[in-house]
Amino acid sequence: MIEIRFHGRGGQGAVLASELLAQAAFLDGKSPQSFPFFGVERRGAPVTAYTRIDDRPVRLRTSIPNPDVVVVLDPGLLGTTRVTDGIRPHGLLLVNTPKSSEELEAPDGVRRAAVDATKIALSHGLGTPMMPIVNTAVLGALARATGVVSLEALSRAIEQFVPRSPVENRLAARDGYTTVRTVEVGALLSPLPVGAPVPRPSGEGPIAVVPSETIHTAAWRTFTPKIHLERCTKCNFCWKFCPDDAIEFDPQGFPRIRLAYCKGCGICAAECPPKTIEMLETLA
């Protein structure tokens, strides 16, 4: 049995990717199982989905703590989510990134693979630069890097189950298949900083008192606002309209982005009267 864990952000199609993989495996004659982890389902928020593929019916109904393969649809997650937690010693980490596979950090002994699925998706008009739909390109790369499904089965699954632009998605899968780059053994993973300890529930009712500012939502964004202060008039429109309260003021009264919280919605750039705010693609 192969166990695969997908990490993506709401809206990127991680859940659909896990389902498509299962459909493709079924077309290959395998017994698949796929399911999402139902948590905070928000556009841009981290999401997890799982696929199991076996020759016999799967006899487990649990999440996947020790995956053979970890698929990361969004490179922004690498800095904030412990994507490789529990990955098996000879497992595979596949990441959508423009970087080379050598540059990826993974636990010792884990194979690494990279595919620039964002570029592929946009070249086929899938999604927007803000929210590219990368799942089919990533699945193509997964098919090549792992051999868990054939490209033919994947293409047929896409034709049958992708609601929009099936042709473009099939081409994206093909491009992912042909351009994925792998490297055999990973470097040691530098441990991610561990957040503040979470208090266990008290003996009383469910009472939450920890400010949500302990949660950083930077990983949600695809584009990052940059303020060109030389043209800023301190009108404060950016601050006024920010749904994330992610804009503060410096001592001179100029606006400053609170990057830990900015989700990159782009309202500040759109509403800035002198157009001093530019949305730049976030680099992983």
């Binding site: 556009r43 979470v198 400010p211 949660i215 009108c235 009264g253």
Partner: protein, 301 residues
């Protein structure tokens, strides 16, 4: 520090779990600015249940009480009763419910609260569908809009029924104060919140809350779309104090509704006839609003 046109205090924490560009998140931020820290928010099942972040975290610098979907009106009656009997002074009791939790499943409890003259503020943040469950139609979904339960294909043309007139239903209860608010107009928004805060009795705020994933528009356009909603007359801004209606934003000629409709994927299937139908309805509602305002003005105090 430069000029601030709305209060500087922030009572909504960052790190919350709203989608990028969420009108409902901005609505909460602006609402609490006007109300201040001595506020308790009763929160039914809605997007904000999740936006408020999971245990042990919370996204508001004020008290939140979670309540079931349909019970917000009753909950704020209970909070007010307790505050009064325990001698808690100067506490804003606020129900903050979505359109489904207000106009559909919560309508009975809202009506009860208004009829009982509960001294509290009931907020309906209106994103015009059940967004937290993934875009299903509600009583507040407008005519023709696509949702997952009002599909568009063949003869199916989005929602076949018109939007429920919640302000009309609320005004029939003669609240102490009722107003429509739009985060695209923060100064008007804040003035109404502060006015509502200082009035005693049942108060109702209908807040327009654009939803980028549900309405299918780019998250950067939330404010622009909000402005269009008001400037086309789709979501006019007004308030009713002691039964007297006053329009709080007039822009001379209304913009064509086409601009508003075409900015959203949920209306992409609209034909010119559909647009004309909406235009006629918006025009008629606006004229009725202007007429009502004129009548109320001429009525002696």
């Amino acid at each position: 520090m430069a000029k601030l046109t709305i209060p500087s205090q922030e009572l909504m924490y960052s790190g919350h779990a709203a989608c990028p560009g969420c009108g409902g998140a901005l609505a909460m931020r602006l609402l609490l600015k006007g109300l201040g820290p001595r506020t308790i928010v009763s929160l039914p099942a809605c997007c904000w249940t999740v936006i408020g972040t999971p245990y042990p975290t919370t996204a508001l610098r004020v008290g939140i009480l979670d309540n079931p979907f349909e019970a917000t009106g009753a909950s704020i009656s209970g909070l007010r009763a307790a505050a009064d009997v325990l001698g808690m002074k100067d506490v804003n009791i606020v129900g903050f419910a979505g359109d489904g939790g207000t106009a559909d499943i919560g309508l009975q409890a809202l009506s009860g609260m208004l009829e009982r003259r509960t001294n509290a503020i009931y907020v309906m943040y209106d994103n015009e569908a059940y967004m937290n469950t993934g875009i299903q139609r509600s009583g507040e979904t407008p005519w023709g809009a696509w949702t997952t339960t009002t599909p568009v294909s063949g003869d199916l043309h989005g929602k076949p029924e018109p939007k429920k007139d919640m302000m009309g239903i609320v005004l029939a209860h003669r609240p102490a104060y009722a107003a429509t608010l739009n985060p695209a107009y923060p100064e008007d928004f804040d003035r109404k919140v502060e006015r509502a805060r200082d009035i005693v009795g049942p108060r109702f705020l209908h807040i327009f809350a654009p939803c980028p994933p549900g309405w299918k528009f780019d998250s950067s356009e939330t404010i622009a779309l909000g402005r269009l909603a008001t400037d086309t007359g789709v979501f006019p801004l007004y308030e009713v104090v002691d039964g007297r209606l006053a329009i709080t934003r007039k822009t001379g000629a209304l913009k064509p509704v086409e601009e508003y409709l075409h900015a959203q994927g949920r209306f992409h299937h609209f034909t010119p006839e559909d647009v004309a139908k909406i235009q006629a309805q918006v025009r008629e509602s606006w004229d009725r609003l202007v007429q009502r305002e004129r009548e109320d003005l001429s009525r002696p105090h």
